[in-house]
Amino acid sequence: MTRLTVPDTIELADVSIYLSANYQGSGNLFGERLATTAPQTIALVADALRWHYDSFPAISITDAVGSITVDNVGNDGDTIMVLVHDVVYGTIILGTYIKTSADVDVNTLASNICLALGGTVLPCGGGTRIATEGGDLLITENSENLIIE
């Protein structure tokens, strides 16, 4: 399924404010609706997203964000499995990586874990950015933190 871009999401939110307000308005005829603050809530969250996107437009896809801190290289042969526990889909295995002797430090190990998850290593400030096939971004925020976006 094609995911919504941030501008798509903002546009949908802007439309939803009016739709939601209309729905609340119809409650005057047909009985009070749930969540009477829904139009305001949508407006607040839409502006939060709009302002952040104005400032940082490089973020183009609305993905969940998690982080992994690689603070120890461990031992050769160790298996590193990256999992997501989703309330709907249960446990999702993003990928596994077996530590080798080439992983001499946490940065190399973090990069190789990202590569094992299907990414391409690109320079990104002090860390590493990995763009995966599906458009997901895996980013090492600093020298040790691996952020999966």
């Binding site: 603050t37 305001q40 407006a43 607040l44 969250v45 502006d47 939060a48 997203l49 302002w51 952040h52 104005d54 400032s55 940082f56």
Partner: protein, 172 residues
């Protein structure tokens, strides 16, 4: 082609302390030898970088855009750029009002981001009410300048937003 002055103003997202001003003038005037920036707050006071003794900030013609580290909080300001002939003669000038609300906008996004990690926080007493008031003030500050061209009203709204940010442990 005759010189037509113009410029844009923005607050640097990665570090909102900085104002970025870009000269987008068209045409040329060979007699222009210098350029200055004046930044005035709602009270008429001039905002300049630390150590500047003049009310204006010199802006070398070879530098574009210019980045000015002058803010500690959001402000509504009037920014004027002057293009000068020899002898300090102001030949062209242009000014406009701006609401620089990046600190507050980023703080607001931060709150919503935290909320996604701990959704139950909206059940806290007055939490959602305060988020709403903060949002209203940020939007009000922006609208005061964009619609009414009023930096005083804009600054009053920004001051309320700044109060929320400075006392976030109390409000949120």
């Amino acid at each position: 082609m005759s010189f037509s002055p113009n410029f844009t103003v923005s607050q640097t997202p990665l570090n909102p302390s900085y104002i970025l001003i870009e000269d987008t003038s068209t045409g040329s005037d060979a007699y222009i030898v210098a350029r200055r920036v004046y930044i005035q707050d709602y009270n008429g006071d001039y905002i300049v970088p630390t150590g500047t003794t003049t009310t204006y900030i010199p802006w070398a013609l070879g530098t574009n855009p210019i980045s000015l580290d002058v803010l500690t909080a959001d402000v509504a300001v009037n920014i004027k750029v002057e293009w000068l002939y020899a002898g300090g003669i102001s030949k062209y000038n242009l000014n406009n009002n701006y609401c620089l609300a990046e600190f507050s906008r980023q703080f607001f996004y931060y709150l919503i981001q935290l909320q996604s990690l701990n959704y139950n926080i909206i059940q806290d007493s007055n939490y959602w009410l305060n988020v709403g008031i903060l949002w209203t003030n940020i939007v009000g500050a922006i609208n005061a300048v964009e619609i009414a061209n009023d930096i005083y009203a804009s600054q009053v709204c920004l001051n309320r937003a700044i109060n929320f940010k400075n006392n976030q442990s109390f409000y949120f």
